[in-house]
């Protein structure tokens, strides 16, 4: 093969490799990940909504998901996470708790990983707190107490990202004042699940 042919071949090869790299970069940039599963210890077995899953970046549909992580010698951990449409990639830590001699030996042998685990868990808790406050800004006003009514909130049992507002007001008029108070803060009561604790619905309960 003469010099000219070899050069041409190299140029074609370089172009092909460049095109492949560009395609790979575009694929990686446009590929949709919505969550990143982080496991410590790394032999943790993860299931998402009952199906086995691997650690790393994955696509989860928007909505609520049940995550479970188990590792030999460790206490199985279960958590409920919510993936929101259009939100940045959500880091989900799956850290089963060491509760056996084997697990404690592993902890002693892996101090760096345990430090990382604590740091990541702290970051996750902070992120969760910030996200919860952003999604439920009304909680900045709560609890609210007046002479005739109290407004407070609790976490929804079905969706940990949601709140239930509790209004304690003894009369129909007081309950109306409480709703007016929520409106005066600029929130639409139709968008909240509200429980009137001192109201006994003559037509029954939900």
């Amino acid at each position: 093969m003469d010099q000219q042919k070899r050069t041409r071949l190299l140029i074609i090869l370089a172009i092909v490799i460049s095109i492949c790299l560009i395609f790979y970069a575009v694929y990686q940039a446009t590929r949709k990940y919505t969550a990143e599963i982080i496991t410590i210890p790394n032999f943790t077995q993860v299931t998402i909504d009952g199906k086995p899953a691997k650690a790393g970046r994955i696509y989860l549909n928007p909505g609520v998901h049940e995550i479970e992580g188990s590792a030999n010698g460790f206490e199985t951990i279960r958590k409920t996470v919510t993936i929101q449409e259009g939100a940045p990639i959500k880091k989900i830590t799956v850290f089963p708790n060491p509760n056996s001699d084997i697990a404690l030996q592993w902890v002693d042998a892996n101090p760096e990983l345990m430090k990382k685990r604590e740091s990541l868990a702290g970051d996750e808790a902070r992120e969760e707190g910030d996200r919860f406050r952003n999604n439920n800004k009304i909680t900045d006003q709560l609890p609210y107490r007046s002479l005739i009514f109290n407004i407070d909130y609790g976490i929804s049992k079905t969706n940990p990202d949601d709140i239930i507002i509790y209004i304690k007001a003894p009369s129909a008029l007081d309950r109306q004042y409480a709703i007016s108070q929520i409106k005066s803060w600029g929130y639409d009561p139709s968008l909240y699940s509200i429980v009137f604790t001192e109201f006994s619905n003559p037509l029954g309960v939900r």
């Binding site: 949601d162 003894p170 009369s171 129909a172 309950r175 109306q176 709703i179 007016s180 409106k183 639409d188 009561p189 139709s190 968008l191 909240y192 699940s193 509200i194 009137f196 109201f199 006994s200 619905n201 003559p202 037509l203 029954g204 309960v205 939900r206």
Partner: protein, 218 residues
């Protein structure tokens, strides 16, 4: 000869680039009419960017297509448009703003029924709606009366306030009840009728209906 060929080549390339840029400055707006909106006529106005007061832009000067009565595809310059129909005896006014900057857009023209048409539906169905509510919640009878009854959207949603007339003064709050038409029957959605219609508790109830009902009480 060679110079002429080069010149023609440059002109052809410039023309191709210009044509590509011109063709890429348009997108398709597809207007579809739902079965419910038979008889609706829409006009399309170029209303400009979001910063511009849209109401002021809906005038003859900005009309780009008029009297559209059936499914149609329009090729329009990348911009913002409003698809508008005026209210008439059968339908409420319809106004949907769309942006063609990002690509082709499909719009389903489906204006809600007019107030008078909804009132007619209410008058015809009031008896069966109240019977359905009372059969689901027999305690309504004798303890509550139906007030502020209204039919919404396409005659498929009903909402009312239940005014308490019973003896329990501590729980005498007005309750809100919502029913949905399912075939020829009306089904109670707010189970039970409650102080507030919450979209969190009843996601199937459209927010505008929940808001309208809640505003009557609060």
């Amino acid at each position: 000869m060679k110079k002429l060929l080069v010149f023609l080549g440059v002109v052809a390339i410039a023309f191709s680039i210009g044509l590509t840029i011109y063709l890429r400055s348009f997108n398709d707006l597809t207007i579809n009419f739902s079965e419910k909106s038979s008889g609706v006529i829409v006009d399309v106005y170029n209303t400009g960017p979001d910063t511009v007061d849209e109401a002021q832009q809906i005038n003859d000067k900005n009309l780009v297509a008029s009297d559209i009565k059936s499914n149609q595809k329009l090729r329009l310059k990348k911009d913002s448009y409003s698809i508008v129909s005026k209210k008439n005896d059968s339908f409420a006014a319809f106004n949907q703003k769309v942006s063609l900057y990002q690509g082709d857009v499909e719009v389903l023209v489906e204006p809600f029924f007019s107030e008078s048409r909804l009132n007619d539906i209410l008058n015809v169905n009031k008896g069966s709606i109240q019977s359905s509510a009372i059969s689901s919640y027999p305690r309504i009878d004798g303890r509550y009366i139906f007030e502020n009854e209204k039919i919404f959207h396409f005659g498929d949603w009903y909402g009312a306030t239940l005014k308490y007339i019973g003896p329990d003064v501590n729980n005498a709050d007005p309750l809100l009840i919502v029913l949905k038409r399912e075939g020829s029957n009306w089904k109670v959605i707010t189970r039970p009728p409650s102080l507030l219609v919450s979209q969190k508790d009843y996601p199937e109830i459209p927010l505008d209906i929940a808001d309208q009902l809640n505003q009557r009480v609060y």
